[in-house]
């Protein structure tokens, strides 16, 4: 083939802005489309409404609109609250009311915290050419290790105890990430199947651990761990909102910064990305691809482990088997939505955190099951993964053709 002629111009500022704008446009449209389809699902899954459509389409349309408006209204109110309340509280100088009005945002941030960690985990894996579907299991292992340290050493000062517990959580997840990394590097076992299977193994392991004297809370016969002592607990970030966002968020943001530095400003990240984009060339350049894969998976596991850690040290202060509502799977969507960039992951996590936070009030108001959020999330990733779908829907001309950022290579090595 003849070579593509080189582009002569250097991208100007305006063009960069346009590219940036286009970068935001597609995710925005993807989310919008997913919400519209979600609304459709809400309506179509209501047998009464479907029946009504046969009888009185106009009334049915109105009722559908009311239902969807109520659902999404509650979703928004539950995730970002009412700005009027905030302004009113500020105007009145009522601190308590102000804090109370912050509650939905606080919950959103709380829900975003584990999502940031898990999303970073999957994003880092993507960048390293790996597909980590095992964030869920790694999360549980991290939680197991963290909660152990969290309840085990009463009397430690918090500035030692918290870092120790966090490190333990990282280690636990890293261990669960190391296994698929090691197997991939040494035997060529595809990480997708191994990580999925390790999720199931992790569930059983937690069930088993919570029955042992080491973990089980004395005096309780149900599978619940001992309580994390005060010195290892992550305190709330907004005093007065004890059940909301905690210092785990700060750690998550630090983690995002560290991952960003690691990926783009460090030699290890250079290796991760080189192996992710072209393992063969990386090997030719003297990078030990096997060790890089193992290290990358271990770090990914560690990050996912921190998701469990922040939950047990911050939100729950104990471990039970129902710790995660599927954060590890949301993480895949987050990494795709955030284009595997740490900042993008944080933004996506805030969005998904808001969806999760708003789902409860939505259910309370309209009885629509929380699983709708999962449906919407799946639609979002689908549109993000296949931008051509969205472009086709909205008749947007393709800019520079970019393929998907990750490439799978079958089952072999």
């Amino acid at each position: 083939m003849a070579a593509v002629p080189e582009r002569p111009t250097r991208p100007g500022l305006t063009r960069q802005a346009v590219t940036f704008g286009r970068g935001l446009l597609l995710p925005a449209l993807a989310i919008l489309t997913a919400l519209i389809l979600g609304a459709l699902v809400i309506v179509l899954s209501d047998p009464d409404l479907v029946t009504l459509f046969g009888v009185d389409p106009v009334a049915a349309l109105g009722a559908s609109w009311d239902l969807v408006a109520a659902a999404y209204g509650a979703l928004i109110a539950g995730s970002i609250g009412n700005p009027g309340d905030l302004v009113g509280a500020l105007a009145a100088g009522d601190l308590d009311a102000f804090v109370a009005a912050l509650d939905p945002i606080s919950v959103t941030l709380q829900r975003s915290t584990p999502l940031i960690f898990a999303g970073l985990s999957v994003a880092l894996a993507f960048r390293s050419g790996l597909f980590n579907i095992g964030a869920e299991g790694q999360l549980y292992l991290g939680a197991l290790f963290a909660v152990f340290v969290g309840f085990s050493f009463p009397g430690l000062p918090f500035f030692i105890h918290i870092p120790l517990a966090v490190a333990a959580g990282f280690l636990g997840g890293a261990l669960w990430g190391f296994i698929p990394g090691f197997l991939k590097a040494r035997t060529g076992a595809h990480e997708v199947i191994v990580t999925i299977m390790l999720n199931y193994v992790a569930y059983r392991l937690i069930d088993l651990a919570l029955k042992t004297d080491v973990f089980q809370r004395p005096g309780r016969e149900d599978p619940i761990s001992k309580e994390v002592v005060e010195s290892a607990a992550l305190p709330p970030l907004i005093p007065g909102l004890a059940a909301g966002v905690h210092w785990g968020l700060v750690i998550a943001l630090i983690a995002a910064a560290v991952v960003s530095w690691l990926l783009f400003r460090s030699t290890k990240g250079f290796e991760f990305r080189a192996v992710g984009l072209n393992p063969q060339a990386a090997r030719y350049a003297g990078i030990d691809t096997g060790r890089t894969v193992i290290l990358a998976m271990a770090v990914c596991g560690g990050l996912a482990g921190l998701a469990g850690t922040s939950e047990v040290l911050g939100s729950n202060r104990r471990l039970v088997s129902g710790l995660s509502p599927g954060y590890g799977f949301d993480a895949i969507a987050l990494a795709l939505l955030g284009r595997s960039r740490p900042l993008g992951v944080v933004a996506a996590a805030l969005l998904f955190g808001a969806l999760r936070a708003g789902a409860t009030p939505m259910q309370a108001a309209t009885g629509i099951p929380i699983d709708l959020v999962v449906v919407v999330q799946a639609l979002v990733i689908m549109f993000i993964a296949a931008p051509a779908l969205v472009r086709g829907l909205y008749r947007i001309r393709a800019g520079r053709t970019t393929g998907t950022e990750v490439f799978s290579k079958g089952w072999g090595t």
């Binding site: 016969e221 729950n316 509502p325 309370a364």
Partner: protein, 396 residues
Amino acid sequence: MGTTRALAALVAATALIVGACQGGAGRPGGGSPAAGGAGAGSPAANSPAGGGPAGGSPAGGGAAAGTPLPGAADFKACEVSDTGGIDDKGFNQNAYAGLEGAKAEFGIGEIKFLESTSEADYNRNIQTFINEKCDLIVTVGFLLGDATEAAAKANPKQKFAIVDFAYDPVIPNVAGIVFAIDEATMLGGYLAAGMSKTGKVATFGGIDIPPVRTFMEGFAAGVNYYNKQKGKNVQLLGWDPKKKSGSFTGDFQDTAKGRQVTEGFIQEGADVVMAVAGPVGLGAAAAVQDAEGVMFIGVDVDQAISAPEYRDVMLSSILKRIDNGVKGAIRSALEGRFKGGVQVNTLKNEGVGLAPYHEFENDVPQELDAEIDALRQAIASGQVKPADWYEGAPGQ
């Protein structure tokens, strides 16, 4: 994947609580002792549609069903589930049936429900209902124990009821609704042993947790009691009372596993199976139906009514009247008699029981039925304690 696995309990009181109750502490005096045969005669299925009669609500009282109580129209009762939905054919659904029953019978104004998908939802869901000014918040399952305690202490005026959990010391604004389910499963075990032709009966659980185990231990007690009384040697598969270990499918979702375990039991010769595993139990019932001459014992509700497709194999069901417990709590709150503490639901107050035999009415020998009745009375009066029979005849 894994979101609802900790639906961890369908289920009964913890062994701890059972033990405490049998020690005689805090057994509420309300309710009349069950008359002979009444327990088997009256319980209704707790299908979401029908509230069922109010008979035997532990908090007692004899108000006529269907009469709105004063002040009921403004009353708001709210349920927070654990990580199962209210369609779990298990205790979330059963508790909700209690709410619906209260609405139908007492005419309370509003009932609401929130499903939790994870630990993180518990506090949030309870807080949502506190903000909505519910008069009574019912939390379901021991998983919510901590969250309910925290919320109750932070909001001392808010009334709570929690299913399958009890606090020691008592929290004044929380009523713990617990069940001495082993009393009922002991009857079930006796019935199973008496009906078995192969001399082998079986049970299995969802997740290996105490509330599930209590079912199985009671069942074992019934078999042991039967063997002792009759000098027989009916074997129990799926539960080893001495090692306190048994068959578990590992979750409450994988119905196919329930089926497969049950097929295993049948192949090993068992002909009566009790599954303590929520929906997974229905997989077991399917296996029973596909085999010849095998019977099934349901749990929680009268499954011959709630799962009529398996009526032909449903020997009986172990009833756990969560609905009645919840209704009772609502009623006492309505009538201003609400107080914190433990409400133990027993055979005696008809909080637990054995469902009718339905299709098997004619197959169960008169004699056996009479023996079960006798056992029921012996348990209700405290003469026979299931815990003594867990591992075999006492003193052996």
